[in-house]
């Protein structure tokens, strides 16, 4: 299995390190041609406005959008969540996204989060973090803050967190994503 990490701007190497901890090969994605041969892709944290502009400039937005809408596995953290939700970007999650939802950097925080399906709490690192609201019923909510701010969610093969698992060394979200890819591979495999 090879997992791509979108390498236009942001915390790229942190995700590569997490994939290495999960013993999965990572491939950096900068151009359309790089998409060949990967089984899923991570959209890292960074400045969503900048990553969006670079996706457009590199003519990566449309091909990647097509792939994702066809069910290609994708995991987005923070800016990745924003881009996967914004209709002008990937628009695959039916929800509204509030950028910098918790405020500026001075309001950035760490907090233990309970996540659906995880036995122990997950240490959430929120940096100028967004959240989701008005989430469609097709989307599975995995974690919330203040009851109504959705901070982790899944829709088919799309997984998003508003916080940064890649800054914690806790690989549970990355493992969850890898299992999503494996399940899809079983489904498409001629031997299945």
């Amino acid at each position: 299995m090879i997992v791509g990490v979108l390498n236009l701007q942001g915390a790229v190497s942190e995700h590569v390190d997490m994939l290495a901890q999960c013993q999965v090969e990572a491939k950096l994605i900068k151009k359309v041609g790089d998409l060949t041969g990967i089984d899923g892709i991570i959209i890292p944290g960074g400045e969503s406005t900048v990553i969006y502009k670079l996706l457009v400039q590199e003519q990566l937005l449309d091909p990647l959008k097509k792939l994702i809408h066809a069910g290609f596995p994708v995991f987005g953290t923070c800016a990745g969540l924003v881009l996967l939700t914004q209709p002008k970007a990937f628009g695959v999650l039916k929800a509204e996204v509030v950028r910098n939802g918790f405020g500026r950097q001075k309001d950035s925080f760490e907090q233990a989060i309970s996540v659906a399906g995880f036995d122990a709490p997950f240490h959430g690192v929120f940096i100028r973090a967004p959240y989701l609201t008005a989430v469609d019923e097709s989307v599975t909510v995995l974690a919330t803050i203040d009851d109504d701010k959705v901070i982790a969610a899944q829709y088919e093969h799309t997984l998003v967190t508003a916080f940064h698992p890649e800054l914690t060394g806790d690989t549970r979200f990355h493992e969850k994503f890898i299992r999503l890819i494996e399940k899809r591979q079983d489904f498409f495999s001629p031997n299945a």
Binding site: L8, Q9, A11, G45, G46, E47, T49, A79, R104
Partner: protein, 293 residues
């Protein structure tokens, strides 16, 4: 819920990697920078080359001007405090800026001590010319580093020297024997535990941007090739002939530092860069990099 932790302060800088932070002197420039793809803006009344030209004492910018810029853009806003001026830093924290640059571009307020940055919830970036300086600033609580370069000159040579020096010294510390680390810490005048971190990890515990003399797309890509995590551009954008084009081109070159055909493309017909200053023409007291070491 915990705020202002080391993880969220350093993490904020990690999210800026591969990006360009642009100096802006007003709302209009801030909007141009954001539209061009800046990951953050540095709000200051005068860019470094104008500070150089104006002379006198350079201080923190007017908080009202910083607030206007914060209201005008959605990307992070940084601002500069004088080295050692803990009240300017507290004022900037109260205004709510996302990052403080304790900067040699402003006239130092204290020539002995830097600010105790561990006491703040807002993260700090500081300049460095070598590994010892880098680790002293981290020891004081800096969450991000940048080369000092020589601000406002439009001349890349000092930033190149500082980036190469830091990375060379990191490699030396990594290759050293464990019994040599205390002597290395003494010689670098750096905290032992941070020298040990570098030995064990082969890198700094915070990210390190290039700054001080970046003025063209090729300059930005050069610094990325030398191992910078991203780029600050001070005077280089708004003292060029066409700031909008320059800003966009520098963003593209920083994101694709080894795609030379792309850098060639974005460098075409963007007008003249800032004029720049040859180092030999600067006297020692005109150099900003030697402030606050």
């Amino acid at each position: 819920m915990e705020k202002g932790t080391t993880l969220v302060k350093r993490g904020m800088a990690q999210m800026q990697k591969g990006g360009v932070i642009m100096d802006v002197a007003n709302v209009e420039q801030a909007k141009i920078a954001e539209a061009a793809g800046a990951v953050a803006v540095m709000a200051l009344e005068r860019v470094p080359s104008d500070i150089r030209a104006a002379g006198g004492v350079a201080r923190m910018s007017d908080p009202a001007m910083i607030e206007q810029i914060m209201a005008a853009v959605t990307i992070p806003v940084m601002a500069k405090a004088r080295i050692g001026h803990l009240v300017e830093a507290r004022v900037l924290e109260a205004v709510g800026v996302d990052y403080i640059d304790e900067s040699e571009v402003l006239t130092p307020a204290d020539d002995t001590y830097h600010i105790d940055k561990t006491a703040f919830e807002v993260p700090f970036v500081c300049g460095c010319r070598d590994l010892g300086e880098a680790l002293r600033r981290i020891g004081e609580g800096a969450s991000m580093l940048r080369t000092k370069g020589e601000p406002g000159t439009g001349n890349i040579i000092e930033a190149v020297r500082h980036m190469e020096k830091v990375n060379e010294q990191i490699a030396q510390v990594q290759a050293a024997q464990p019994n040599q680390l205390m002597t290395i810490a003494r010689d670098l005048r750096a905290p032992y535990d941070l020298v040990k971190y570098v030995h064990e990890n082969g890198k700094l515990p915070v990210i390190n941007f290039a700054a001080g003399g970046v003025s063209t797309p090729a300059d930005a890509a050069l610094m990325m090739n030398l191992g910078a995590d991203g780029v600050f551009v001070g005077s280089g954008i708004f003292h060029s002939e066409n700031p909008e084009k320059f800003a966009k081109a520098i963003v593209a070159a920083t994101a694709h530092p080894t795609d030379y055909a792309l850098i060639a493309e974005v460098s075409k017909n963007i007008g003249k860069p800032m004029k720049g200053i040859e180092m030999a023409t600067l006297s020692d007291d005109q150099k900003m990099a030697s402030r606050g070491v």
